[in-house]
Subunit: 324 residues, 2 copies
């Protein structure tokens, strides 16, 4: 099955220290044991990342590792779940060497500590194609209290955390030019693309407050469209209320086109959600130390609309789909 045994032994050596949880069995078994937590539901999510699609070949290995882990932790955040562990399926092209793998493992170790999770198991294969990772993350919520996409109610407000469009701005820069020449604001955008921050504290703080929630991976408009669809409601977003960072505004300006790009770019991994009480949301946001902006409203009907300052609908051509 494996044509590069020495490399796979190296991986075993590098990854074993990441598997501190007893249920991981030191990564020496076919499977892991998840400890049951009385009174808790187990929440499971899977995300795949492909070189050239979700990250770039020259991205630093530690940020690739950390991004793969973080996008999955972001899904747990969006469900109000507390992360526990993760599984890693790694398909490695032949050009990946020892230095790369050491940096990759170092990135995982750093974020494991930061987010209190542990590697539980996985699989390594070779591939004739691009580096491909699939992470399965596992977390817990109090029984029956997972925040779903379905649940938005007419009369709810619509909110989003942090700022939107940064990752798309960073990606646009990275696919255009050489990195040495970038000013600090642009580096901020690139960092936001390479290394999203899962809003775990905010997600947990919104249990019982958010009526529907997800993380922004496909683009704000597309993702709130998912909530509208599965909740069977209409969602209206006021374009002028979409929070954009100073760095992005400096780079892209404030024109309608720039706002539209931000609203349809993916990979921000902020939390977009609906809730009846703005006061409760803002208290949760303050407790979690994360900025949250009210950007729209839920009403009877169906579909998603992006509105200009006069309440007119801005045409949105692009919608993303990623999860099935």
């Amino acid at each position: 099955m494996c044509d590069r045994p020495s490399e796979f032994e190296l991986i075993a050596r590098l990854f074993a220290p990441l598997a501190a949880a007893p249920g991981a069995l030191g990564l020496t078994d076919d499977a892991a044991v998840l400890p049951a937590r009385p009174g808790c539901d187990t929440v499971v999510t899977v995300d795949a990342l492909v070189e050239g699609v979700h990250f770039l070949k020259d991205d630093p290995p530690d940020t690739i590792a950390r991004k793969a882990l973080r996008v999955n932790l972001s899904d747990l955040a969006a469900k109000g779940a507390e992360p526990a562990g993760y599984f890693l399926a790694l398909s490695l092209p032949a050009h990946i060497g020892t230095d790369w793998l050491e940096e990759f493992a170092r990135g995982l170790a750093e974020d494991q500590n930061r987010f209190s999770v542990s590697l539980m198991g996985g699989d390594t294969t070779s591939t004739p194609g691009p580096l491909t990772l699939a992470v399965t993350a596992v977390g817990y919520t109090p029984e029956g209290r997972m925040i779903r996409r379905a649940g938005a109610q007419p009369g709810d407000h619509v909110f989003v955390s942090g700022s939107i469009g940064d990752a798309g701005g960073g990606l646009a820069v990275l696919t255009q030019g050489a990195i040495e020449t970038y000013p600090e604001a642009v580096r901020h955008l690139i960092d936001r693309y390479r290394l999203p921050t899962p809003r775990l504290e905010l997600g947990r703080a919104l249990r019982g407050i958010a009526s529907a929630m997800l993380d922004v991976s496909d683009g704000l408009v597309a993702d709130l469209g998912h909530i509208a669809e599965v909740s069977a409601v209409h969602v209206a977003i006021e374009a002028a209320r979409i929070p954009r960072s100073d760095a992005l505004r400096e780079r892209a300006g404030d024109g309608t086109e720039a706002v539209l790009r931000a609203a349809t770019a993916g990979d921000d991994y902020e939390l977009a959600f609906t809730a009846a009480s703005e006061v409760a949301v803002m208290e949760s946001a303050a407790a979690a130390g994360i900025k949250v902006s009210r950007i729209g409203a839920v009403s009877h009907g169906q579909g998603i609309a992006l509105l200009d300052a006069n309440g007119g609908e801005i045409a949105v051509a692009r919608a993303g789909f990623r999860h099935f």
Copy 2:
């Protein structure tokens, strides 16, 4: 994130009927909820399959789907677990079309029914490389009773289910010539490569009987070497006792080289295990309706040895490593 929305909508439509379990939330959410089972441990395993490495580009799509599912169910079988559900991360190259996806979903549906499992969630991405699948399978065992790789004791016998080397024989044929001309025996080998049978009933029947177990994916010698290593024992296999099918013997003969090829080929997905009581093992095998062969013995020491009829050690150059 996605440049082929129509295809991803198709996948959503094709896969939704596969997600019958309530916790799958109709595949409309970021995550799934695993129902807790009082008195049970949750067992989780991940396997990745890559086109050109674990299956061939021209393999029928339904068998690719079923193999991806079955190799994971095989891991659950090896732990004595009862399967419950699975998650699928699918990275699709551009040449994959509607017909292919429909056949793929049909294959999943067929095996879901056969093995009583349900799609719980997943992720679909595009890839510039080969088709890549990562399946995460979830099952249950009575609390504390998962059969591990560590646990083999000096004095135990070594057993393997079914026959060994068929899948390797099938792969060798497929990479050599045109399929139309094959006699029935060769088609059997190809079927064994394309569509392994997870030994779920046998695995459950061996709870409390097998002291250590795994499924043969890297090759019999390499896999029993894993048991020897993590159990800190020596495992000796008698080459003449390795069960080989009539089809394989017809094709490859009975020479030492042919036996060695069978013992080091992967992908058979039979159960290899150790146990103190041959009687108890054979009763379990009869109950599960699966042939089991005693092929060796566990003793103090370390490492794995393949022995000829005179008790001399046969040199084994190739050892596989796949799991980390």
